[in-house]
């Protein structure tokens, strides 16, 4: 019923005097009250809460969820302390706020992004009958650093009309605008605060979308994409090393893998010797993080995996979780040493230098760099798609079944195709074509991924048998692991049977024609 307040930025001080003077007797201003509040802004690294159109903050001794502008309340939690560190969905209070936020953030941790201190002065504007026609809240916000120093942010006026007094509100704004230097607030307060803290309001997402022009020299297009990927790698390194949440490592690895796919698919734009070294080093980076990621997945998916066996034997698997957690700790330690090493630092610094060279434009030694990216990427997409048709066509399901490695190789190739479509599909094909293509590919990848997960889980269980056996409760755990292995094998076989169906769709006549026509 009540419309949202209008939010304006004031470049001049907004006080009772300045407001009253500006109203010039047509209306009068009356000061109601003044309040001070602190708000610790919380969101995930990739701003999943913001993505839902919300702002989450710890304020007035509780968590509060509001709209992006921090004007309309969405939900509030019970009284609680401000989080001292990362906070997960499981740490959120039960109730509407907890449910909504937990659904939005999934596995990610909520991080404190900054502390806002806001002084609010409330006024009401009265007409000649002394009737309130407009309410004005003047917000004077500051960003407070950990050390306590404050950075002033823009003064905001929130102008709330009283129902039925729209004309009066417009008159009030017209009167205040020149005197207070009012302008539309193009950025919500939390975004302004996060920007002032040196962070990106939109956070860091693995979704890299670099607008490309089909006629652009491929060397420049490739360089721009790789630089965007490098930003994501850099941004996720600290969270990966601190083990803030599992998705830092995931996003780090996805960007490394995407970089490797681009290195492989557009190799002709690089100096071959330098590229050989870079590819080797990126492969090493990827391998250095594999165990840690695999163990993250095992630990995170433990409950789901445990639920594959009969309920009464599930508690017997507790020693397996203990062993997984131990291994995870060791793997993260090893990964940390690798990523902090001189070798890793040098790899990234050399890579940056290589991208700088690409930025200089096409080199006479590498004529491919001159070619328009549209044609180059289309050729690569067609080629990888064709290769997948060959690989998938050779896979046998049923009696004389292909080894799991062949499914895995096809999946790796599928990831390469997906990255090509996502990163380089746009200059040639419309999103309405690329998106359904990725969807069909994703159906295939889901089946292959599920199959691969099961195979890896089976290997993991076998490799952990000795370690689990010596733990308290080990013998019972081994028996339960045997039951689990059988279930996983059964599930892997079931997944392989699904393969033919999804591959048929992926390799069907329509899909082949679509790829051929789109990436001609």
């Amino acid at each position: 019923m009540t419309p949202e307040p209008i939010e304006l930025i004031a470049s001049q001080p907004a006080t009772l005097d300045s407001i009253d003077r500006a109203l010039d007797g047509t209306f009068t201003a009356e000061r109601l009250d003044s309040s001070e509040s602190d708000h610790v802004l919380l969101d995930t690294f990739d701003r999943l809460v913001r993505g839902e159109g919300w702002t989450l903050a710890h304020e007035h001794g509780r968590l509060a969820l509001s709209d992006r502008r921090m004007i309309s309340a969405v939900a509030a939690g019970p009284p609680c302390e401000a989080p001292a560190g990362p906070m997960f969905g499981r740490d959120l209070p039960a109730g509407e706020l907890g449910n909504r936020v937990a659904r939005a953030i999934e596995l990610r941790a909520l991080l404190p992004l900054g502390r806002l201190h806001v002084r609010t002065e409330s006024y009401r504007i009265l007409d000649d009958l002394q009737k309130t026609v407009v309410r004005v809240n003047v917000l004077v916000p500051e960003l407070v650093s950990c050390g306590g120093s404050a950075t002033p942010l823009s003064t905001r006026l929130r102008i709330q009309v009283v129902r039925g007094y729209g004309e009066e509100r417009d008159e009030v704004i017209a009167a205040l605008s020149p005197a207070l230097g009012l302008a539309g607030a193009d950025q919500p307060l939390p975004d302004e605060a996060i920007l002032a803290s040196g962070e990106r309001p939109e956070g860091v997402s693995t979704k890299v979308a670099v607008p490309l022009d089909a006629d652009q020299p491929s060397v420049l297009a490739v360089s721009r994409v790789l630089r965007a990927l490098l930003d994501v790698i850099d941004a996720n390194l600290a969270g990966t090393l601190a083990d803030t949440d599992s998705e830092f490592l995931h996003d780090y690895r996805v960007s490394i893998r995407r970089t490797r796919a681009v290195q492989r698919q557009f190799k002709h734009v690089f100096d071959p010797d330098e590229l050989r070294v870079a590819r080797g080093e990126f492969k090493w980076l990827q391998q250095s993080t594999s165990d840690a990621r695999d163990l993250d997945v095992y630990v995170l998916g433990f409950d789901a995996m445990r639920d594959l066996i009969p309920r009464e034997t599930r508690p017997d698997l507790a020693p397996l979780l203990t062993a997984l957690r131990r291994r995870r700790t060791v793997a993260h330690g090893a990964m940390g040493r690798a990523l902090r090493s001189d070798r890793a630092r040098e790899t990234m610094s050399r890579w940056r230098e290589m991208l700088d060279v690409l930025d200089d434009g096409p080199d006479s030694d590498r004529p491919y760099g001159r070619r328009p990216i549209g044609g180059y990427s289309s050729r690569r997409i067609r080629k990888v798609y064709r290769r997948m048709l060959e690989m998938g066509g050779a896979i046998r399901v049923g009696g004389d079944e292909s080894p799991p490695q062949e499914f895995h190789e096809l999946r790796k190739k599928g990831k390469e195709l997906r990255y090509l479509l996502e990163l380089f599909g746009q200059p040639t094909a419309d999103a309405s074509v690329v998106k359904p293509m990725i969807k069909t590919l994703k159906s295939l990848q889901d089946v292959l991924g599920h199959h691969q997960d099961r195979e890896v889980q089976i290997d993991m269980l076998r490799s952990l048998a000795d370690e689990v056996a010596v733990l308290p409760g080990g013998p019972r755990a081994l028996m339960a692991m045997g039951v689990l292995t059988a279930q996983l094998e059964k599930d892997a076989a079931k997944t392989r049977r699904k393969f033919s169906q999804v591959f048929e769709e992926f390799a069907g006549k329509d899909q082949r024609k679509l790829v051929k026509d789109t990436f001609a």
Partner: protein
């Protein structure tokens, strides 16, 4: 949300209808309920008390003909969640305006219908009369809140209303939809006459006579000066407390029994 419609009504004037409507609506809004007062009195006393200009764009005729956009006529008061549909002088012809329709008694209910979804409570502040407007108010209201001055003739007025509420509308024992909830208004507890009338009526009409009585106080008169409900400018006064008690009693009596 489907609003409960409560009308402050009495055939007689000067018994505290507007004071009751304004104060009870204020308390409903303060309790967190979206509340509307519709000032149906051409004198526009509740409109005046909320400092709102007595102006009904298009006049009463357009409103009851459903040609006005009623949402655009509503004004916010100075109190959160409390809106007012103002009166103006065109309401003096409301009887005639209603009479132009085939079933005039149902007309106000039709005007209210679209607003029911937006509010928890709609208070109708009625002009003193027994007329077509009153009939239409009876059809629209879930309950009549009837202020009674504890004087000898008052009980007669009240009995007439009870008769009306209990009348057989379809010849088969069906009753009109509204309930009558009466309360003592402008009570002078020092007057033996008031005390005896109150005692007698409470005994005779204990089902419909509310417990709380509103004192005859300067604070209520002061509303005209302050142009605000008593609860807003003198929340600890006996009158404000009495309205609080009355509002509690009304909510308790209304309970879950709603007009179907």
């Amino acid at each position: 949300m489907s609003a409960r419609v409560l009308a402050t009504y009495n055939i007689k004037g000067g018994v505290g209808k507007t004071s009751a409507a304004v104060n009870l609506a204020y308390l409903a809004a303060r309790d967190g309920h979206a509340t509307l007062i519709w000032d149906l009195d051409p004198q526009g006393a509740s409109t005046y008390l909320f400092r709102i200009r007595p102006r009904l764009k298009g006049g009463a005729r357009e409103l009851v003909a459903l040609r006005s956009r009623v949402g655009e006529l509503i004004k916010g008061t100075d109190h959160e969640r409390l809106d007012l549909l103002p009166a103006d002088f065109s309401l003096r012809h409301l009887d005639l305006d209603l009479d132009a329709f085939k079933r005039p008694a149902l007309r106000l209910a039709k005007v209210i219908e679209p607003m029911r979804a937006d509010y928890d409570y709609i208070f109708l502040d009625c002009a003193p009369s027994i007329s077509l407007v009153s009939e239409s108010v009876f059809e629209a209201a879930d309950a009549l809140l009837v202020p009674i001055i504890p004087a000898a003739l008052s009980s007669r007025t009240f009995e007439q209303l009870e008769e009306l509420a209990g009348r057989d509308v379809n010849g088969q024992g069906g009753r009109v939809g509204f309930r009558v909830l009466a309360f003592f208004s402008m009570v002078e507890v020092g007057r033996p006459m008031h005390r005896s009338v109150m005692a007698r009526m409470r005994e005779a009409h204990h089902v419909t006579m509310l417990g709380a009585g509103i004192p005859d106080s300067e604070d209520v008169e002061q509303m005209g000066e302050e142009r605000d409900p008593v609860g807003a400018f003198a929340p600890a006064s006996p009158a404000a407390m009495a309205y609080e008690a009355l509002w509690l009693d009304i909510k308790r009596r209304l309970g879950t029994a709603r007009r179907s």
